[in-house]
């Protein structure tokens, strides 16, 4: 985790376990905190930590640095600080475990891993098919590169919350 601190406002970036995120919040109950909760359920965190004023998802950011942001109440200072850090915040009112973009692409990535493990096609051909068949900006393996742990964590969180087998992780991705 990386923290950017402005007086009483803390922006907590990066991947960490749910326990680590919660410990950080417990240790900083006197601050206004905005936290990257890409893999977790903001609603669960909001219920437990009143000092958490909003959450965002930056773990799948590409070079455009667009960040999905959920705020409990409007907070122009946080938005301006994100912009100072060269991020482009895109606000949403929908509170969803895994936000909107990460939750959607981890499912696409997981399916691509299932297909690859069943020898449906090579990784390169799966990426190529999704980019040139349905105009995806990136192929699933390009999105997943270096982020496999994040993908697995989010899928496991979704499964833990819903008990829906649609979120079971491809064994290949789990390895």
């Amino acid at each position: 985790m990386t923290n950017v601190i402005y007086d009483n406002l803390v922006i907590n970036f990066g991947f960490a376990s749910k326990i680590e995120k919660k410990i950080f919040l417990k240790e900083n109950s006197d601050k206004e905190i905005f936290m990257d909760l890409t893999c977790f359920d903001p609603a669960e965190f909001y219920a437990e930590f009143p000092q958490l004023k909003g959450s965002f998802s930056a773990l799948f950011c590409d070079e455009r640095k667009k960040v999905e942001v959920h705020l409990r109440a409007p907070h122009p200072l946080f938005i301006s600080k994100l912009k100072e850090l060269n991020y482009s915040p895109v606000e949403t009112s929908i509170i969803s475990l895994g936000f909107i973009f990460p939750r959607t692409i981890v499912q696409i990535i997981n399916e691509a891993y299932f297909a690859f493990s069943e020898n449906v096609a090579t990784r390169a051909d799966i990426d190529r098919a999704m980019k040139f068949g349905v105009n995806y900006p990136k192929g699933p393996f390009e999105w997943a590169k270096g982020k496999e742990k994040i993908v697995v964590t989010l899928l496991n969180e979704l499964y833990a919350k819903t008990q829906d087998k649609r979120y079971l992780v491809s064994p290949l991705l789990n390895n």
Partner: protein
């Protein structure tokens, strides 16, 4: 590999798009359909498309003249038997397709490749309709709509399709204006399988049938994800019934695997005739 003479069977949207694309690659193309009216409609539409490209100076007059000469429309009885490649792009009905393949197998010479543009049926199953000698030259070639614009061609290897043929087709398309992807003969091939959750997951995120939520999810996936269209506006464009049918088909083919399960709202919308843009009501309302 020599692919100079192509026959496309079925002059619907996909067939005429495929025929147009091959003519644009300087191939001789014969477009075939049972309906002469459909053939004339397709020919006129392709010619208009080339004329528009000429007006926009994207094609030269000589190129348009040549392409018009390369493309002809015919009945199946009139086509030449020595084509390099025959592509079937008719209605998605297995029995009708198998009957057609039987006829094609008898009609075309032994070196002709027979391909299906199916998005739903196993290539291996359809190859049973042709002779054992032909089976190694029976392959899936799945184009994407509009075929002249979308770069992907899925090359589907059936159990009996020659590996060498698939490799040669891959190389041929790769050298042209296409991006081929080789895939195993499995339900949904690559795209119709991997893309299912682009629709299924946002339906679950939305939770309730409220247009503003669809709008917000579409906005985030375009803005943050970089997708050209959001899932809800895309489903409305494709047709809720069409998308639901593909989802059910993949779900059935994978023995009701939960990852492919349709959302109850899709079924409800089909029942209510909320089919998207074509009925002016889908996830969004259209005036």
């Amino acid at each position: 590999m020599k692919l100079e003479h192509i026959i496309v069977i079925g002059a619907g949207t996909m067939g005429s798009g495929i025929a147009q694309w091959f003519a644009q690659q300087q191939c001789t193309v014969e477009l075939v359909d049972n309906s002469s009216e459909q053939l004339q409609k397709a020919l006129s539409s392709i010619h208009s498309s080339w004329d528009r490209l000429l007006e926009k100076q994207k094609l030269l007059p000589q190129e348009v003249t040549e392409m018009k000469q390369l493309l002809s429309v015919k009945s199946l009885e009139e086509v030449s038997a020595n084509a390099d490649l025959v592509i079937e792009a008719i209605i998605e009905n297995l029995e009708i397709k198998k009957d057609l393949f039987k006829r094609l197998d008898h009609f075309f010479n032994k070196n002709t490749i027979i391909a299906s543009n199916t998005s739903s049926f196993p290539i291996t199953l359809m190859s049973d309709a042709v002779s054992i000698e032909r089976q190694s030259r029976f392959v899936g070639l799945h184009f994407f709509n509009p075929a002249t614009i979308m770069k992907l061609v899925e090359i589907i290897k059936g159990d009996k399709t020659s590996e060498e043929l698939c490799h040669d087709l891959y190389t041929w398309f790769d050298q042209k204006d296409k991006r081929p992807a080789l895939c195993k003969d499995s339900p949904g091939f690559i795209v119709n399988r991997v893309a299912r959750n682009f629709y299924g997951e946002p339906l679950r995120i939305a939770e309730s049938d409220i247009e503003s939520r669809y709008k917000e999810i579409d906005h985030i996936l375009k803005e943050v994800g970089g997708f050209k269209m959001g899932p809800f506006e895309l489903m409305d464009l494709i047709g809720i019934d069409v998308n639901y049918s593909v989802t059910c088909s993949v779900w059935d083919a994978y023995a009701n695997e939960p990852r492919f399960a349709p959302h109850s709202l899709q079924k409800k919308m089909v029942a209510e005739n909320r089919l998207g843009r074509k009925t002016k009501r889908g996830f969004y309302t259209y005036d």
